[in-house]
């Protein structure tokens, strides 16, 4: 962490005196000073869903994962107990967060992607309906990283999600009947879909998985009423395929040019180039732009594809109506270590150099934390948040990373201690933002890898990969860490080291709490300001999903988290104490209270005519 070079405020105008004083004070006093700037970091919480509900994975367009509920707070979180639980019976990794709309909770299980609606108005949240889509089992063997589903969406009265075998389905939220089902790709060729759809207006945005299978990546928009595909933007190929037109204005010159999605690849290799859009999408309703990242280039052996390999490991800003690209920035051009660019971008407005900039904060797989101007694509801050040794910094003018030549893998030669590993300093597990503290919160990794590349053939339906890896912890011996990050200074405010990987999403609440879970199954609540762990609960299996919170029909606040290890957490499965698989959703409340239990009133068998009115148990209904 120390001695790692990044840059801060690359193109900042001159700073005002007040900002300089505040920045200096912040450098002197680590723990408290950022509060002076906290009020300066803000986010737009559109679409401003009802505070007790949770309609999309990230709760809002800006991807803050912040809940305004404060009934559960730093004062009483020690009394948090399990209120009820729900098992979906599937043992693949559980990566999504439940949605709550009104008095119904919606969850989708990993393959075979059965959807459940749970009736929160009844004790024990019984199943209201199920929808079993019967996807093709071929998909199980084509999914690189477990047969997961990373989330689902609710909009327009429909539960909308992706099946592993490349279909997007919309299910009537009331009845559980299928409304539409659209085939988006061919699973037998190695393409799958795992990401949660993201709804903007009447458009459902979905993307594919398959950067390890030689599938060219894409993001598509479907009409929410009919499921018809409206546009599809690819991550490599001609400008027409990538939807780069006259509106495209990247900030840096090295991203300007014709058909860069073709010219930065050897002949025809862009067709199997990867760049899958399997991660998170955010949206700025004022600028009318969506932001999302693309995966690693394919194959994962860089010597087979000399060139900058656009537009993989990049972030795009697009117009959701047409898909036209507005700007892009490539995080890791000619990526050699599988550093996908798909991690979430949280949209925040923050002061840089005395001005408030509309920015986004993105913790990339390549271990750099970026603050990027979301209007223009200018990189304002790029500094490591985890240990890395693949680069020695950035060219401050072009914002291109400077690769250390000795960290470039050559085929058949073992390269030791490459940090971060392929799964990055942080993988897709999403971070959260609290407007009260102005900080971002994320579970990150402290891992390195030894890698040997093997040149690979492209055989459709099989991996186009080639990286043989073993992973081990970086200096410090802890595999995980949960941190809070100050996006203005580009520094951690506090960090909690965890022995096991921290691969859960983060949840921030107005009760000054942040929730996260570990891969060995501990679900924790932390003081958002100080990082003190206030409460922990061990669950049945490791936690790789995202927590959420809602108000039940009884007016109580609940916190829900799935437990079921899998996905990329399996890279540490050789650790002693690594948990077995699981399939259970846990819902917590203060003292575990919820709707009274559903036990029927017992009848007696001896003598008396009927139930004694005096035995009416108060509180039981």
């Amino acid at each position: 962490m120390t001695g790692q070079t990044g840059f801060i405020i690359a193109n900042a105008p001159s700073m005002s005196l007040a900002t300089i004083w505040l920045s200096a004070a912040g450098l002197i006093m680590s723990g408290v000073t950022h509060f002076a700037l906290a009020a300066d970091v803000s986010a737009n919480f559109a679409p401003n869903d009802p505070p007790g509900e949770w309609h999309s994975q990230a709760r809002d367009y800006a991807n803050t994962r912040y809940s305004p509920l404060d009934e559960i707070n730093a004062g009483n979180v020690k009394q948090l107990r399990i209120a009820w639980s729900f098992s979906d019976g599937v043992n693949y990794g559980h990566e999504g967060a439940p949605l709550v709309v009104g008095a119904t909770m919606y969850v989708v299980a990993p393959f075979p992607n059965v959807a459940y609606a749970l009736d929160l108005s009844k004790p024990g949240a019984p199943i209201k309906w199920t929808y079993a889509p019967d996807p093709s089992p071929l998909a199980i063997g084509k999914a690189c990283c477990d047969a997961v589903v990373r989330g689902w969406a609710f909009a327009d009265g429909k539960l909308i999600y992706n099946l592993l075998d490349d279909h997007t389905v919309a299910v009537d939220a009331e009845t559980g009947k299928q409304v539409w089902r659209t085939k988006m790709g061919n699973v037998e060729n190695g393409e799958t879909m795992t990401m949660p759809p993201f709804v903007v207006g009447n458009k459902v945005l979905v993307g594919n998985s398959g950067g390890e299978m030689g599938k060219i990546g894409w993001l598509a928009a479907l009409d929410i009423g009919t499921g018809k595909e409206i546009w599809r933007a690819y991550s490599a190929g001609t400008d027409q395929l990538v939807k780069i037109g006259s509106d495209f204005h990247p900030f840096y010159d090295w991203m300007k040019g014709k058909d860069l999605g073709v010219t930065t690849w050897p002949a025809d290799m862009w067709k199997t180039g990867g760049g899958a859009a399997w991660g998170w999408i955010s949206y700025d309703p004022e600028l009318h732009l969506i932001y999302y990242g693309t995966s690693n280039p394919s194959p994962r052996v860089p010597t087979q594809r000399p060139g900058l390999n656009f537009w993989t490991s990049a972030i795009f800003a697009r117009d959701p109506e047409t898909g036209a690209a507005k700007w892009a920035y490539v995080f890791t051009p000619h990526d050699q270590w599988d550093y996908d660019g798909v991690n979430e971008s949280i949209l925040v407005d923050l002061p840089i150099g005395g001005k408030t900039r509309k920015a986004l904060v993105h913790f990339d797989r390549n271990a750099y934390a970026y603050t990027i101007d979301r209007v223009t694509g200018e990189v304002l801050i790029a500094t490591p948040y985890a240990y890395q040794n693949w680069s020695s910094g950035f060219d401050a003018k072009t914002a291109m990373p400077i690769v250390r030549p000795e960290m470039q893998p050559k085929p058949e030669v073992k390269l030791s201690n490459v940090c971060p590993p392929d799964i990055g300093g942080k993988d897709w597990q999403p971070s959260a933002f609290s407007p009260k503290t102005g900080l971002l919160y994320a579970g990150i990794f402290n891992i390195c890898m030894d890698v040997t590349d093997h040149r690979q053939s492209y055989i459709p339906g099989t991996p186009y990969d080639g990286m043989e890896m073993t992973r081990h912890p970086a200096p410090g011996d802890n595999w995980g860490e949960f941190m809070s990050w100050d996006p203005v200074t580009g520094r951690k405010a506090w960090a909690i080291k965890e022995k096991y990987m921290t691969m859960s999403g983060a949840l921030a609440t107005a009760g000054d709490l942040v929730f996260y879970g570990t891969v060995d199954g501990w679900f924790r609540a932390v003081n958002a300001k100080t990082g003190e762990v206030l409460w922990s609960q061990k669950l049945g299996s490791g936690i790789i999903g995202a927590p959420m919170t809602y108000l039940g029909p009884d007016g109580r606040q609940y916190v829900a988290i799935y437990s079921g290890v899998g996905g990329a957490a399996m890279v540490s499965k050789a650790m002693p104490g690594f948990p077995a698989r699981g399939s259970t959703l846990y819902v917590f409340s203060i003292n575990g209270e919820s709707l009274p239990n559903g036990a029927p009133t017992p009848t007696t068998t001896t003598g008396s005519a009927g139930p004694n009115p005096q035995t009416n148990r108060s509180g039981q209904r």
């Binding site: 393959f111 071929l138 063997g141 999914a143 690979q456 099989t462 991996p463």
Partner: protein
Amino acid sequence: MATRATGRSMVSALRAVSIIAAALLASYEPVAGDSTAAAPTSGLPPEAVLASLPLAELAGAVRDPAGLVVANPFEGDKQAIEDGHRLFIAMNCAGCHGYDAAGNMGPNLTDKAWRYGGTPSAIYQSIFQGRPQGMPSWGRALPAQDIWKLVSFIGSLGGSYRTGQHQDWLNGDHGVTSTAPEVTTLEPTFNVPTLREADKPPDTPLAGGSPTPAPGGTP
């Protein structure tokens, strides 16, 4: 100037050299890496025998072991194991099953759990035909020789069963469902303890209360 003596010694030297050269040529063996050397083309089982076996015969209760006793023609051939390892990486098997074959996207090939059978001919069939949860079919892409070499390599990893020992495999099968992922370590057989006579509960039902659990363990 060549004298007679010199001439004679030259001739014997030439003779010696030619003998040594002949010996060297005779001892020449194919270099490592020959993919098709020593292939017993006549010993390969006809593909029709294996291809005609219905899947159920391999995956379920076996009445007729015909086909399952087909041996790997490269049995005991170390070169075939090396070639199979090379093919395992070249054909992207390692990408799904892991470079150590211990499983990743595809199942672990080093343990005793075989969804579709772990004898050499069963493994051959799985590679040849492909399988429902994403295993591609290689029968048209690879010649029989190469598939048997892959079987040799997988057999060298310790998890597979011997030719004809399908009963061993059935004993270890624990009914993995079609949707559960593979378990990475397995006991080869279950140890079902048997109750001793003295520990068995009496035949008459106990009056009132719950029955006393028998000591000595329940499975």
